[in-house]
């Protein structure tokens, strides 16, 4: 089981004719993802790895029924792409594009909210649900099973690369994943961890969640408050990278754009303390995820 993705996931790729998008199209098709079409204005009638290209989503919807969009258009075109997707009734939009202007990102959030759609990203490496053989984005590359095997652990990660490495820790511990989400490295993203924890709480196929956190934002603090208030009652393993940034000059970005401590906010130590107080299991080293998972599942 899983959240957000299912056997019914039917994908349209916006910007499918780009270099990275067409490579990813091949990988996700190989994995089993149902890609019903791609959109690049002016390229209707072309094919990308056997997938038909349309000028617009509405043109595609005449022939296909997409319910999920994977966005690969350039930064300045993302806002319009999301508008098109929500106007076409698409309810899950995954934005891979990096460097989306912040003024556009805030509008994207509100457009999605108004339409009752979920946005993952921008600046996400994608998401995956192995039990359904669905993945969106470069996640797992051409060797998906290496890190991602089916199971009952949800993964939420602020880092794209560490989504795979964290899922691999789950695999090493002898377990598998339900849904893994790279939420995006930007300060303004569509779906913060709390929203995902809500869904994982509801999902019968998820028994525990591992969260990969970073400095900056209040995502982890918000998650801690959510757990404390009883919103998420399953075991939560939390890791927060970048403890060293606390001894660096404030206001410096290390890693992702959102990874910045300013005015004393966003410190990994504060995040870990709040998560621990809320009852989460803290992995002080990323390697600790393995024994913590074993501890959770051996208790049962």
């Amino acid at each position: 089981m899983s959240i957000l993705l299912s056997d019914d996931t039917r994908v349209v790729i916006q910007g499918i004719t780009g270099r990275e998008a067409s490579m990813v199209t091949e990988y996700i098709l190989q994995y089993g993802t149902k890609v019903v079409g791609g959109v690049t204005p002016g390229k209707s009638g072309q094919m990308v790895r056997g997938v038909p290209v349309y000028n617009t989503i509405s043109e595609l919807m005449g022939e296909q029924q997409a319910n999920t969009s994977l966005v690969y258009v350039p930064p300045g075109a993302v806002l319009d792409a999301v508008r098109e997707a929500v106007d076409s009734g698409i309810k899950l939009i995954v934005i891979i594009t990096e460097n989306v202007p912040q003024h556009d990102s805030i509008k994207i959030n509100w457009l999605a909210k108004k339409a009752g759609a979920k946005v993952i990203g921008p600046n996400s490496v994608g998401m995956i649900s192995p039990a359904h053989h669905v993945k969106l984005g470069a996640i797992g590359g051409d060797n998906t099973e290496r890190c991602f095997v089916p199971g009952t652990v949800g993964v939420i990660s602020r880092s794209g690369g560490m989504t795979a490495e964290t899922a691999w820790m789950v695999k090493r511990a002898g377990f598998g994943v339900s849904t893994c989400i790279s939420i995006g490295g930007d300060p303004i993203i569509g779906t913060p961890p709390v929203e995902l924890l809500k869904m994982f709480q509801e999902d019968e196929g998820t028994e525990a969640v591992v969260m990969f956190g970073e400095p900056g934002t209040s995502f982890e603090e918000d998650a801690a408050n959510f757990v404390k208030s009883g919103g998420f009652t399953k075991p939560l393993i939390a890791f927060v990278a970048g403890k060293f940034t606390e001894s660096m000059p404030e206001g410096t970005v290390f890693g992702h754009a959102a990874s910045i401590i300013s005015k004393g906010m966003g410190k990994p130590s504060t995040k870990m303390k709040k998560l621990e107080e809320a009852g989460a299991l803290i992995a002080y080293s990323h390697d600790d995820i393995i024994p913590l998972l074993k501890q959770i599942f051996e208790k049962r």
């Binding site: 990275e20 890190c147 690369g161 080293s285």
Partner: protein, 402 residues
């Protein structure tokens, strides 16, 4: 986020029809004195550097006449303010105000809104006002899909306590600030203070403007004046940082190569992924080692970028070892990375038998990558070693070989 120097910020406000003080940029004490002479009134002389709170840093001086202005400029030029060399000063007319207001417009990431903060207690640190008398501050969050209408602006200014002619006048100005904030893809526009003079004029003496560097592609006129990248290091770039920037900019759309030089340390740090590099740095410290730089690379960089980055990292005189680690890659090609690293090491005459190098680089095309690394005598690991364990191995190897 890219900071815009104050003179450019004031230029923008002026071009948008807002009344700003008379000002000029001077690169010598004499130029500063000449401008004060020309306007014939007391002036303010400020170090022109892209940081806030310059008053507290002693970088703002007042001068009653041309001679004092010359002296003030002389005392600032050539100094450093929070690491920034002062090459220019801003000389602006000093205005007598009866009221000083505070305005800021910024993006509030957690609610994805634009936050407007207004207070009648301007001219001082807004953090202090917020701590001591929060009732004097009005904060308003806008819906980014809707227009910031005239009535929104009037409501805010009325709530903060303005009345009569000032209310109408300042509310109009606030709306204009909001439009400018949107038009220029700003992340922060702060006017502190805004002056209301005894004649009832509203005039801007200072401004702080930051724009979104992700939006510079559609803000062409700002690209030249934005101190891009300043958020990654709130100080001028070092020589090596500048060289890495050049390496990256040669092929800006393929892969990432970022470098931050640090004080002390002896491990050349070359790690991949936004999260992976943070984790690796923590683990090196936890194992008792100390990196001499921070680096983040990835996104399937071409060989030249990896090579250029490795060379820059190894060129720092305090480097006594090299640690390369990243997560299992989704699309980054390990063989391409390996070629770049080996090329840099060979060219610099580094012998892996005596110079500690540990690599942990699992991912796409790893078999070929490992072959290249091993052939060059470089200790290499794949997924059999976690990133944390690889960091421990690096620190251990440093101790063995040094």
């Amino acid at each position: 986020m890219a900071r815009i120097l104050e003179n450019y910020g004031l230029d923008i406000l002026k071009a948008e029809g807002i009344l700003v003080v008379e000002f000029s940029v001077a690169t010598s004490p004499e130029e500063a004195g000449a401008f004060a002479e020309k306007i014939g009134r007391p002036v303010v002389v400020k170090a022109l550097v892209p940081i806030g709170k310059r008053g507290k840093a002693g970088a703002v001086k007042f001068a009653d006449n041309s001679q004092e202005a010359t002296e003030a400029a002389r005392s600032l030029l050539g100094t450093e303010v929070k690491g920034y060399p002062v090459k220019k000063v801003l000389v602006a007319e000093k205005v007598q105000a009866t009221n000083e207001l505070y305005f800021s417009i910024s993006i509030n990431p957690s609610s994805a809104q634009i936050a407007v903060v207004v207070s009648l207690s301007g001219g001082v640190d807004i953090e202090e006002v917020a701590a001591n008398s929060p009732e004097k501050i009005v904060t308003y969050f806008s819906n980014p899909l809707e227009e910031f209408a005239s009535h929104h602006s009037l409501e805010i200014m009325s709530k903060v306590g303005l009345e009569g002619r000032n209310l109408v006048k300042v509310a109009g100005l606030l709306r204009k600030f909001y439009q400018i904030f949107n038009k220029y893809d700003a992340t922060l526009l702060e006017i502190n203070p805004l002056f209301i003079t005894s004649e009832g004029n509203v005039i801007v003496p200072a401004c702080m403007l930051s724009v979104d560097d992700g939006a510079l592609f559609r803000q062409k006129e700002l690209a030249n004046v934005a101190h891009e990248g300043s958020e990654r290091s709130w100080k001028p770039l070092t020589e090596i940082e500048r060289r890495v920037q050049e390496v990256h900019d040669k092929d800006p759309y393929r892969g990432t190569a970022r470098y931050t030089e640090l004080d002390g340390g002896d491990i050349g740090f070359m790690c991949g992924g936004g999260g992976g590099s943070l984790l690796s740095f923590d683990e090196i410290l936890a194992a008792g080692g100390k990196p001499t730089n921070y680096t983040e690379f990835g996104g399937n960089p071409p060989e030249d970028k990896v090579y250029g980055l490795a060379k820059c990292i190894l060129s720092k005189s305090s480097v006594n070892g090299l640690f390369v680690a990243h997560n299992i890659t989704n699309n980054t090609q390990v063989d391409v990375e390996a070629r770049g690293i080996v090329r840099a090491i060979k060219e610099m005459g580094i012998d892996p038998a005596t110079f500690p190098i540990v690599t942990r680089m699992p991912g796409v095309n790893e078999a070929e990558g490992f072959r290249i690394l091993k052939e060059a005598g470089i200790e290499c690991y794949g997924e059999e070693l976690t990133m944390a364990t690889a960091a421990k191995r690096m620190v251990e190897k440093m101790k063995q070989l040094l």
